[in-house]
């Protein structure tokens, strides 16, 4: 009796010692801007990580603020101050490469991609977007689609129009709707949503190869084709509401739901807004199609995690990246986030109606990166491009806007 008690006490003491030493050994800090609606998705991923790596304390450092504007500023301070987080969220592609990879602050993840077999499960176009200077720099967790046009099926029926297939068709439809008394057939919101529209007009005009050439520096912004794209964009903006800069993307989506406007070009996070917040049913309450001229193309943006040089808990961070890129991790995260997995082998039964259609396209479409969401252009380009769009809106001078864009591209080192 006595002996057993002592044994028990010893066992408990040993167990306690083991857990406390494990806790001291393992620590991981992940830095992101996922809060509010997006927090449950991250929590699911963290929970999974804790299951796989018991004893590691996960410090979830979140800095809220739409599209990470605040988080990015905090991250810069930390990186420059020499205390980088172990892994941080960043838009996949040039937003990471143009800011941190060129500054030689990130670790190359090529070997991780090879050992985990990710070079086969992620589409080739995506690997190309993540790569630069012979390295692969971050692990994509999710994929959002930029080139979606949303509409209200009942309203379109009442107006007697169908979603246009090309931007020229769109302009005809726009004229028709205006004749029927729809003041603004297209709804846009604040500046970045206009840039979002611009990139979709441009991809619809240039095609996916032309768009790739543009960011590779093979096609100049001053090329007549690009100038023509600007001209079309100007005409498309003439179809839009005049109070754009006062609207958030949610308020712009509201105008589709209430039938004030016919079309809205917005990323597929709008699907979550329509179903969860507005309680609308897919295909009846709200409808979607690819943005005009971009069928067969998937304009992607992705959140990803990278490994900064000098991360304090490198081993734990690598485990985190392995989980973020795994099938299990992505299928836990994405259904909650409202996005699709970057992997092509995900379990579609876990996803909603919209995501299923997007995931199907993800497998068979040509994939190009979004400019405004940081996949193909660095921050130095995207954040200054807004002013060019505004100036173009005021002057409607396509030549001038194209020349300014080219100068900006040269300054940001695009195509170098």
């Amino acid at each position: 009796m006595n002996r057993i008690q002592i044994k028990k006490a010893l066992l408990i003491a040993a167990a306690l010692a083991a857990t406390s030493s494990a806790a001291a050994a393992g620590k991981l800090e992940i830095f992101s801007w996922w809060s509010g609606d997006e927090a449950p998705a991250l929590d699911a991923l963290v929970k999974l990580y804790k299951q796989k790596n018991p004893g590691v304390t996960v410090d979830n450092a979140t800095v809220s603020g739409g599209a990470g504007t605040n988080a990015k500023a905090v991250l810069k301070t930390r990186m420059l101050g020499g205390t980088p987080p172990d892994s941080f969220q960043v838009h996949a592609g040039q937003e990471l490469i143009g800011t941190w990879v060129v500054a030689n602050r990130m670790e190359d993840l090529s070997s991780l991609f090879k050992s985990e077999g990710w070079t086969k499960v992620f589409p080739q176009d995506v690997i190309a977007l993540l790569s630069s200077k012979g390295g692969i720099w971050s692990v994509p967790v999710n994929v959002h689609r930029s080139n979606v046009m949303w509409y209200n099926p009942a309203k379109l029926k009442a107006w007697g129009v169908t979603p246009p297939k090309t931007w020229n068709e769109f302009l005809t439809t726009c004229a028709k709707l205006k004749a029927k008394g729809v003041a603004a057939p297209l709804v846009v919101g604040e500046n970045w949503t206009q840039q979002h529209l611009w990139e979709n007009v441009m991809i619809g005009t240039l095609g996916s190869q032309g768009w790739k050439d543009l960011w590779a520096g093979k096609l100049k912004f001053t090329d007549p084709k690009v100038v023509a794209g600007f001209t079309t964009f100007g005409k498309v903006m003439d179809c839009a509401n005049k109070d754009a800069s006062g609207l958030s993307w949610q308020q712009a989506s509201d105008r589709i739901a209430d039938g004030t406007s016919a079309f809205n070009v917005m990323g597929d996070w709008a699907a979550g807004y329509f179903t969860t917040t507005k309680k609308l049913a897919p295909n009846t309450g709200f409808g979607w199609t690819t943005a005009p001229g971009t069928s067969g193309t998937f304009v992607m943006l992705a959140d990803s995690f990278g490994l900064p040089k000098g991360a304090k808990d490198r081993a734990e961070a690598i485990n985190w990246l392995k989980l973020a890129g795994s099938k299990q991790g992505q299928d836990a995260f994405n259904p909650l986030k409202g996005s699709i997995a970057a992997r092509t082998d995900s379990d579609l039964s876990k996803y909603n109606t919209y995501s299923k259609s997007a995931a199907a396209d993800w497998k068979k479409n040509k994939i190009v990166g979004s400019m405004v969401h940081g996949a193909v252009a660095p921050e130095s380009f995207t954040s200054a491009f807004g002013a060019i769009i505004d100036q173009f809106g005021a002057s409607k001078n396509a030549q001038g806007a194209a020349a300014a864009a080219q100068q900006l591209a040269d300054r940001s080192g695009i195509g170098k």
Partner: protein, 349 residues
């Protein structure tokens, strides 16, 4: 603090951040480029946004100061007549000042929404709802071509000099009149002969007063006019009753008394109010950020651009240059005030 000012000025003369690869590197290579960043801001093809912001700042400062002074003086004059519940009114008018600009901005943003608040107000009276885009308008008035800037500045300065010369002639100060007159003539000559041929930009670039600024000016005036009122009220209370009585005995009407006795005595208050409001309006950042967002170039101001340029585009040198220009602008406002107050102190001593 002065170390940081010096550091910012130094950075603004380098190329830190112009090459993205060096912006955030561990040991960035930073080269001296002289005034190239300033040249880029005033004449660069891509920096039209900054030039519009300078114009915005000038209009904002002008209307903000005029609005605050006018409204503040009006309120102070009413309260000075000791209406009933004066203490309560004083508190109510002063209260907005206790809010931070972020809070003010958020409230006014809601009220000035295209479909909300102020635009819906007429419907209460049975009128159709307003449709003015308080913060989202993209129209502008009083446009001028940036290329005409040297001409305009030179002309304005010359006119001021002419005015000084005329005053000097009246006061009988001969040397002063001659110097001012000569300078004015030189400037005018330069403006008319050289400036029209000076091209800052390859193409004409129109800048004007953006109507979307009106909403922000309204909110700023709402917040700061109570403060101006308090300043004026203190000034009014400081005017001895004997002076007013003396004016009345001399047969001055109410209007005449204000015009010739009270307003001149309030002049120093007006000056300090202008200084305080002026430097607030030059530094304004949070109000614009909260009301129109950082990416609305129609309502943007240099301080906002400085933040975006440095911390989003990583163009540290360019951001430092904008900061230095702001510092110089504030110095224009503050230094004359400081020198005048020093002088008057010496005069008293």
């Amino acid at each position: 603090m002065y170390v940081f000012i010096g550091r910012t000025m130094y950075v603004s003369l380098t190329d830190w951040g112009n090459d993205p690869a060096q912006a955030l590197a561990l040991n960035p290579v930073i080269r001296w480029v002289g005034l190239a960043n300033y040249q880029d801001l005033f004449t660069g093809f891509l920096q039209g946004r900054f030039r519009q912001e300078l114009v915005n700042t000038i209009f904002f400062t002008l209307f903000f100061i005029l609005g605050c002074l006018g409204l503040g003086l009006g309120l102070a004059l009413i309260l000075d007549r000791n209406p009933r519940g004066e203490g309560l009114w004083r508190t109510i008018f002063l209260f907005p000042m206790s809010l931070s600009f972020i809070v003010t901005g958020t409230i006014w943003r809601w009220m000035l929404q295209p479909q909300g608040g102020l635009n819906q107000f007429p419907t209460v009276l049975g009128l159709p709802a307003g449709s003015f885009g308080w913060l989202s308008s993209t129209d502008s008035i009083w446009k001028f071509d940036w290329n005409k800037l040297p001409l305009l500045t030179a002309s304005v300065v010359a006119l001021v000099l002419v005015w000084l010369a005329v005053r000097a002639v009246r006061a009988g100060d001969r040397t002063r009149a001659v110097v001012a007159g000569l300078c004015a003539a030189l400037l005018l000559g330069w403006a008319l002969l050289v400036a029209p041929n000076l091209k800052l930009l390859p193409a004409p670039e129109a800048h004007g007063f953006n109507l979307a600024l009106i909403g922000i000016i309204v909110a700023a005036v709402w917040q700061m006019s109570g403060y101006t009122m308090a300043l004026y009220l203190a000034g009014l209370r400081g005017i001895p009753e004997e002076l007013r009585e003396a004016a009345r005995v001399d047969g001055a009407s109410d209007f005449g008394m204000y015009r010739h006795v009270i307003f001149p005595l309030l002049a120093p208050i007006t000056l300090s109010a202008m200084i305080i409001l002026g430097h607030i309006s030059l530094k304004i950042f949070d109000l614009v950020y909260a009301m129109a967002g950082p990416d609305n170039t129609y309502t943007s101001v240099p301080a906002l651009n400085m933040y975006l340029t440095s911390f989003r585009q990583n163009q540290f040198a360019l951001g430092a240059a904008i900061g230095t220009i702001l510092l110089i602008l504030v110095a224009f406002v503050i230094v004359p005030y400081l020198s005048s107050s020093f002088r008057s102190e010496e005069g008293h001593a």
